[in-house]
């Protein structure tokens, strides 16, 4: 039985350190000393996927993307 995993992918050329993603997904994203997101690369559990989709949609520069694999 295979299941899909959702992981966070960041377009670093677009990211401007707005920091919304860290607020919406505090268990998965923290901010470094310059305001840029630190992600652990682990897949997002299903219960958090909805918030993750919101974070991707709300990023002011669309730098946060969700990869399904």
């Amino acid at each position: 039985m295979t299941h899909e995993t959702t992981t966070i992918d960041i377009d670093w050329t677009a990211c401007q350190a707005h920091g919304l993603c860290a607020e919406l997904l505090p268990e998965h994203i923290t901010l470094d000393e310059w305001g840029y997101p630190l992600i652990d690369g682990a897949p997002i559990p299903t219960r958090t996927t909805k918030r993750a989709r919101r974070a991707a949609a709300d990023c002011p520069v669309l730098a946060l993307k969700l990869r399904v694999g």
Binding site: A17, H18, A57, D58, L62, A63
Partner: protein, 197 residues
């Protein structure tokens, strides 16, 4: 509904639109500047910007509806989307129509943002900086309340606020464009500014 009621409704909703769209522009600039509103989390700024823009659009719809339904002046639905063809005050009304068309482009691309990609969305969103002043001039030119003190004060405040915010935004962009690797290396002794500067 009498023509006079509709006329007052049109003027009132027009004034509300001025205030609301001004706040929407200010909030949009706040998002760009990574600003936090007191008491709200970061995503609050974006959410408020979007919510208020929808509210402003609703009031704009009422504003246009009141003008079209009112039988006293000859303004048709076509005049609302095609500029400068109306019988009534074609120039000033036409400017309002132009502002509406630009705002619709901004609105629709924002709703389809994820599908269009950031670059396309951003290019169209810049039209907001054209739509707002055109709507303002429409209001001043066509407005029945233009001479009144309260309207003058309201207009001056909105213009001052947007000019100040735009000035800050431009200064910020100029400063950011100077943050090249070369510039950052040239200041080895003093602490380097972080991304939040």
């Amino acid at each position: 509904m009498s023509s006079e009621t509709l006329w007052y409704a049109n003027r009132a909703t027009g004034a509300v639109c001025l205030v609301l769209f001004t706040v929407v522009v200010l909030l949009g600039i706040a998002v760009r500047l990574r600003g936090r509103l007191p008491g709200l989390p970061r995503f609050g700024t974006v959410t408020l910007h979007r919510t208020l823009s929808l509210s402003a659009t609703a009031f704009l719809t009422l504003h246009i509806a009141a003008a079209v339904i009112d039988g006293y002046v000859d303004i048709t639905l076509l005049d609302a989307v095609v500029p400068f063809v109306s019988d009534y005050q074609p120039l000033w009304l036409g400017l309002g129509t132009v502002a509406l068309d630009l705002m619709l482009a901004v609105l629709i691309t924002s709703l389809l943002r994820a599908r269009l990609g950031h670059r396309t969305w951003r290019a169209v969103h810049w039209l907001a900086y054209a739509s707002w002043p055109i709507a303002l001039v429409h209001g001043i030119g066509i407005g029945t309340d233009t001479g009144a003190d309260w309207m003058t004060w309201l207009t001056v405040s909105c213009v001052a606020a947007v000019l100040a915010a735009f000035g800050i935004r431009t200064a910020h962009a100029v400063r950011a464009s100077h943050r090249t690797p070369t510039a950052l290396l040239r200041t080895p002794e003093r602490p380097l500014e972080g991304a939040r500067s």
